[in-house]
């Protein structure tokens, strides 16, 4: 444990020291991951499915605000959809504009979750998101994750309908449009995930805020369990196609991710918690103080190996200083 704490301390120090350089690098990695994932999963437009264009776009993102990654990712998605079919591009564009107009005006800090959700889904770890967002975000993160799930399933559905779209006549625009909309709306899995993830975020958030010992581990366990149970119920009642093994594995991963988040954000020692009571003119205070688990920074010892100074005569220990000398 102390080794982990030491590593955390070193990482913190390193981040604080080189924050100016690390932030753009992290943004670059996130943008690269997002754009490469989009290209690998969609990849209908050959012109932007090119590593040099992805690199230039990711480099631009690294020097811009975080939300620029969302904008560039949305642009890439719409362009790929346009290459597939104009109808698909219109549907996805309308979806993005409505999300932007209605929700992201309120919560610009949370916008990045909409990019992270599809990436997590494509990596097969979507269950991690509601637990982690419940720990680091607020209850409104449920809406952000919901939007991310809608985008993920919209892309997945259009991808599935791509072969049917390709075989249809281009003149039959209304039918193609209806096919795209139907494939997006008629998705029971999407509804199951939105309901389960929203409830999980709220449960994790509410429990971690409770003034009880071990609130964070309880919140992680309760959230992960609730997520699994709701998904199982939804998959059975709505007849949604959700893999049970995926739910179990995802829940285990969510718990692990939750504990890693706790270690990084809220590492406290409940055994050394103190309950204090004091008063002032107006109030009585009942305070519970829980100390953080920290690792004392190791001090560098300087060992003198210079022989010339080692043999220098030592100053006598008891020297009487004049008052002027002290100044």
């Amino acid at each position: 444990m102390s080794t982990l704490l030491e590593i955390k301390q070193h990482v913190n120090n390193f981040f604080n020291k080189y924050e100016v350089y690390i932030r753009p690098v992290l943004k670059l990695i996130l943008a690269l991951t997002a754009l490469l994932t989009i290209n690998s999963k969609l990849g209908y437009m050959q012109k932007i499915d090119n590593i040099s264009i992805v690199l230039v776009a990711a480099l631009m993102c690294s020097f811009m605000p975080l939300n620029f990654i969302v904008f560039i990712s949305a642009l890439f998605i719409v362009l790929h959809m346009y290459a597939l079919a104009l109808e698909a591009a219109i549907v996805v564009l309308v979806l993005f504009i409505v999300l932007f107009l209605l929700y992201f005006r309120f919560s610009p800090k949370d916008t990045i979750v909409v990019v992270l959700t599809p990436i997590a889904c494509m990596m097969g770890i979507p269950y991690v998101l509601p637990v982690v967002m419940g720990l680091v975000g607020g209850p409104y993160s449920a809406v952000s994750i919901g939007c991310g799930i809608v985008v993920t399933y919209a892309l997945k559905s259009v991808n599935t309908a791509a072969s049917s779209l390709g075989s249809m006549e281009t003149e039959d625009m209304a039918t193609r449009f209806r096919l795209v909309i139907d494939s997006v709306i008629d998705n029971k899995g999407m509804m199951a995930f939105i309901i389960a993830f929203a409830i999980t975020v709220v449960i994790v958030y509410l429990i971690r805020r409770l003034p009880i010992d071990y609130s964070w581990p309880i919140a992680i366990a309760a959230g992960a369990l609730a997520d699994a149970i709701i998904l199982l119920i939804c998959s059975m009642s709505m007849d949604a196609d959700i893999s049970v093994a995926g739910i179990v594995l995802g829940t285990v991963l969510a718990v692990i991710a939750g504990f890693i988040t706790q270690f990084l954000r809220f590492n406290v020692d409940y055994n050394r918690a103190e309950k204090l009571q004091f008063e002032d003119d107006e109030y009585y205070y009942y305070v519970k103080a829980v100390p953080k688990v920290t690792y004392p920074a190791s001090r560098k010892r300087v060992k003198k190996i210079n022989t010339a100074t080692a043999h220098r005569p030592q100053r006598p220990r008891h020297i009487e200083y004049d008052e002027d000398d002290e100044e």
Binding site: I90, V91, V94, I97, V98, L101, L102, R105, F106, A174, F177, R178, I181
Partner: protein, 128 residues
């Protein structure tokens, strides 16, 4: 000699001013009713645009059925139900926006009050 307490306070104040402070000041520069009114106006525009786009998608989706039924339809009744749906959607969104922006206004005001309290404390430290 460096006064550690003063440096900590100055750092906190400077950090607030750089990040949240600027945003909060721009909010509190308005009167409460003006700020919330302006935000609600923007919310109405956003909701109207979204409604129009979703309606366009719906109309295009049902284009063939609508064209077939357009002469049988009671246009006045359809228009009325459309307006009621629009008002309900925009009304619901405006209520949410009202609560969110009222909360934000008071939060910004409270944070700025703390900031000014910090500034006064810093001034007292400097006077000593």
């Amino acid at each position: 000699m460096v006064d550690q307490e003063r440096v900590i306070l100055m750092t906190k104040l400077a950090s607030f001013e750089k990040h949240e402070g600027r945003k909060n000041m721009s909010i509190v520069n308005y009167f409460r009713s003006d700020y919330i009114g302006f935000q609600i106006l923007k919310a109405i525009v956003a909701a109207t645009l979204s409604f129009a786009m979703l309606l366009a998608v719906y109309l295009f989706y049902n284009f063939e059925n609508l064209m077939a039924d357009i002469y049988k339809m009671d246009l006045l009744e359809t228009g009325k139900s459309l307006i009621i749906t629009y008002l309900c959607a925009v009304g619901g969104y405006v209520v949410i926006a009202y609560f969110v922006y009222t909360y934000r206004y008071f939060k910004a005001k409270r944070k700025l009050k703390d900031y000014y309290k910090g500034l006064r404390a810093l001034e007292n430290m400097t006077d000593k």
